[in-house]
Symmetry: C2
Subunit: 257 residues, 2 copies
């Protein structure tokens, strides 16, 4: 089976232009089939402010109303996605940007309203493995932004970590899938206050132990949850680390069963 | 040879939400292989104003500086393109949005500076027929916005009429190509002041005659120029008319040799 690298890059890395360009160079140099999934960063908040669009936050989570969805679609589906693709083309990596609506690549449903209405937020239903296979076989690397659609004309703001994990799982029948979460740290820290306390690996038992002791950063929990699901679904390697981890020299935490 | 419809839709049509949704329904219902090329409309000017970005106009033509290019990329490559694709998916038309950077679909060079520097504006070099063929064969309809790239990381604002005509010419070896320019009039008018004076057809001689007499609207000249080039390059049918012209009931002017 051929290898397939799925690389998720977070907003904090994207915001630092120099780090991000370095990452794109490393990504372009990564051999074999690959898919990039990118988050957004703080530009949407800044743009909302400039345009006088209010941003509602409930329980620490942003509500995506119609105006904020437009901003996300403009910035992440448009400016960021298209510029990433143009840069990758310049670096010799034939890539193609996708929102979830494009080729019906990522289908979701609007999150049902329980106690809180998060607005136009998508809970993932399915990724279109045929489309990804079609492009990959042609040597084209898809670049996915964090937008899905509901199949009825509505774009939806969707968690990029979850898109990456679901995509990874969906591609396991066709490839030996490597899922890489790149973010601003070098891996999972044993001690939140010590950036050098990287765990070389972490299994489910350790995860549950650290979680119960409250040692893991709250932002890490859904990311790690996605990692364990991906492993269970047959993804071969799952790693969390710095953008450099897709090169030979990178540091990371490997997530294992 | 199979038919391929290439449909260009102008900014003025896009701005009228009702007309535009009607058009998308007609487009989705159009049988066979098809490609949509869309312009922009006035939203970029409004957004520039909101963001405090100045718009320079020289000789009646907009200059595309870096800030204006960002706005175009956000609005037309992002918001408009992705929403068109989401709507088409809802209408049962499997479509996929492309800027020129995506899959290297439309390659251009930055317009050389002669007396005027128009900024990040692209003069078309080549369309990637392999990519369009790959998608069309899979039953996927590409939706192109008016952005190209230079292959060196730079996105470029590019005339949508020219993209449509160049694309039409490039596809003639593989399809019987029908090129349709949809805009706010019902066709080419014999009398600018009479919307009912539609010419059912127009050949090169009539074009030259009307042009020399100053009867053609200045905005029509480059459009018609593109039409005659496309015909020369082997495009089978070239029509200019209202959005309804892609249905059985539409009125249009057929451009002939």
């Amino acid at each position: 089976m051929d290898k397939l690298h799925i690389v998720k890059i977070g907003g904090n890395v994207i915001e630092n232009q120099e780090t991000f360009l370095d990452f794109l160079k490393d990504y372009a140099a990564l051999k074999g089939r690959k898919i990039l999934v990118h988050g957004g960063g703080k530009e949407a908040t800044q743009m909302a402010k400039k345009l006088g669009v209010s941003v509602e936050v409930i329980d620490g989570r942003r509500v995506t109303d119609a105006n904020n969805l437009d901003i996300i679609t403009m910035l992440y589906g448009g400016k960021l996605n298209k510029n990433i693709v143009a840069q990758l083309q310049a670096l010799g990596c034939n890539s193609l940007g996708l929102s979830g609506a494009d080729g019906n690549s990522v289908l979701a449903e609007k999150r049902p309203i329980k106690s809180i209405d998060f607005g136009f937020v998508g809970d993932l239903k399915e990724v279109n493995h045929s489309l990804f296979n079609l492009l990959l076989k042609e040597g084209i690397s898809p670049v996915c932004c964090a937008l899905s659609h509901d199949g009825s004309g509505q774009l939806l703001n969707t968690n990029a970590d979850t898109i990456a994990a679901t995509l990874a799982s969906a591609m396991t029948p066709y490839y030996e899938v490597h899922l890489n979460y790149c973010f601003e740290k070098n891996g999972v820290l044993k001690d939140i206050n010590d950036d050098d306390s990287i765990m070389p690996s972490m299994n489910k038992m350790e995860y549950n132990h650290l979680k119960s002791k409250g040692i893991l950063h709250s932002g890490m929990l859904p990311k790690l949850h996605n990692c364990f699901i991906a492993l269970k679904e047959g993804v071969k390697f799952v790693k969390i680390g710095s953008p450099k981890m897709i090169t030979e020299t990178g540091i990371y935490t490997q997530i294992i069963n």
